[in-house]
Symmetry: C2
Subunit: 328 residues, 2 copies
């Protein structure tokens, strides 16, 4: 209902819409309309009201509402169907449930804040207001062994979007971090259901620190993370970011389907900070070496001190750039 | 309740258990006990009843009841928890739901008959009484790219069990068929939920034509399939097969965890009918060539007529053995 009212106010932006007209259109009482207007003001909308003229939208907060994202979205299928939540346990969880029920490819789940946001390996993902939390349902006809490529593809889409809109040098740390300099600004989580050789559905999850002030972060994150607001020195339009990001994902996904992994890996290599770096990888055991390449499935190839190479499929990577000069 | 009564009758096999004793033990009326005894007779149990002495189990049908399978099962974790269904839509579906709710590794779902049994790619799996339909929940710490190896492992377990108990030359057709000669006797279905690099849970599904008469099959299956009963010329003990099969799966799985894919692939290669054969693979496009190897992820390597090789991850394979002499 709130959204219906907003849609009408937006349509007549600049002019007044009478409470009576809203009430008639939406088949509720004028008092009900007034209550929803109050709720919208509570959400941050600035709405003027005048006797005998009605309501007028003055300014909208930057909310990821379906009709905000959808209005100028240049995609064929991603984000054509949007589920928006003011608060949700996790967009990823909602998207998985929708996928199981048969939701179509491109369905987007987006939330203003998450109560139990998730990162890789069931780690929690701190999700205050101002961040961007979204999950997209995909149904690629591919083997589950290709899922890591979808993580790299999503990272490329995020980094390109950040570079283009804000001119910031976003970089990608294998396997799924988006960084500015040494600080994490976002992450990607891919989850899937599959048969041994065929993906049934695959969820692209992304969390991004957009309009979040460093001072508002828990102490333990302040050194290791940053946000678009901190890097730009101003609040950014989350709606605009989401639109461009979805467009990039779709574009890269269509390229991936048509031409395979090579163009995706090439773009990834151009934006990663991991290749060429001395890395430590933790995955049960710990190994150190120089990250020299990624293979066609997105696995990281690390050259150890003894000259042998190791193929890393999963793990947590930390960069040890200073030691890089000491090795080949 | 039926199961509790059966358990007591089995414990006192050969002698009588009074209706009063059963009623007291199970905290129901003697009439209720009598009704359950009637139901058990309906299931095929032969139970004698005598005035003043009670009930005595004469013969049990070959049902896959938890305490039948569990009684002599030599495993550490597979089949330690069993969900048995007289009829179910699909054991795979039930197992997936249990896995999502956190069921532990090794949990077995087994059914006497399935209303909507599933094969690969959502194909239906004909599931009359007398067959074996089971799903095992696994939680391997591995990449989803290794899922195909679990399919091969399960096939090896099934073929070895058939060879050992019945002396039949069971063979494996890539990727997931169990055959006797040119006829299919069973199949494997692997389904999983995962992050890009890490399996969350993985379900091993198997359907096997055990005590099914060819004449009872739909006409279209009679030429292409067979059953243990047809091949052995007598009904076999399904309970015994399931026990040995679960033991084999566990044994191979522990080897796989400890030593990797090499020993599994070696056993698979010894029992496949696909390597060395001229094959046609359908997966969107159709290719023909000689199947020469499987790689470390279980993908099939096919040598085409022009001498190039192709790596097949998914697809339907048909064998063209007669043409084999013309190639390589």
């Amino acid at each position: 209902m709130k959204e219906e009212i907003l849609r009408m106010l937006c349509t007549h932006r600049g002019s007044y819409v009478s409470g009576a007209a809203l009430a008639t259109q939406l088949k509720v009482s004028k008092v009900a309309i007034w209550k929803h207007i109050q709720a919208l003001r509570g959400d941050g909308y600035s709405i003027e009201s005048r006797r005998r003229r009605g309501y007028r939208l003055i300014a909208a907060p930057d909310l990821l509402l379906p009709y905000e994202i959808g209005r100028e979205l240049q995609t064929k299928f991603i984000g054509r169907k949007i589920f928006h939540y003011w608060e949700v346990n996790s967009t990823q969880k909602v998207a998985k449930e929708l996928a199981m029920k048969g939701a179509e490819e491109g369905t987007l789940v987006v939330a203003e804040t998450q109560g139990a946001g998730k990162g890789r390996r069931n780690r929690s993902w701190y999700s205050p207001k101002g961040g961007i939390y979204l999950s997209v349902i995909m149904r690629p006809e591919m083997s589950p062994s290709r899922a890591s490529l979808m993580a790299l593809l999503t990272g490329v889409a995020a980094a390109k979007t950040i570079r283009e809109i804000y001119g910031l040098k976003a970089e990608l740390k294998w396997p799924n971090d988006i960084q500015i300099g040494d600080r994490k600004i976002g992450g990607v989580l891919i989850e899937l259901a599959a048969e041994a050789e065929l993906v049934n559905w695959l969820i692209i999850g992304t969390g991004l620190n957009a309009n979040i002030k460093k001072a508002s972060l828990p102490r333990e994150f302040r050194v290791t993370t940053t946000s678009l607001e901190e890097e730009c020195g101003r609040k950014i339009s989350r709606v605009n970011f989401v639109r461009k990001f979805l467009e990039r994902i779709e574009q890269l996904y269509l390229i991936f389907k048509r031409r395979g992994e090579a163009p995706i890996l090439e773009e990834w290599k151009n934006m990663t900070n991991t290749l060429g770096a001395w890395v430590r990888v933790e995955d049960g055991e710990t190994i150190e070496g120089k990250a020299v390449d990624v293979d066609r499935d997105g696995a990281l190839i690390v050259k150890l001190a003894d000259g042998t190479t190791k193929r890393i499929v999963a793990g947590d990577v930390s960069l040890r750039r200073k030691r890089c000069g000491h090795t080949a």
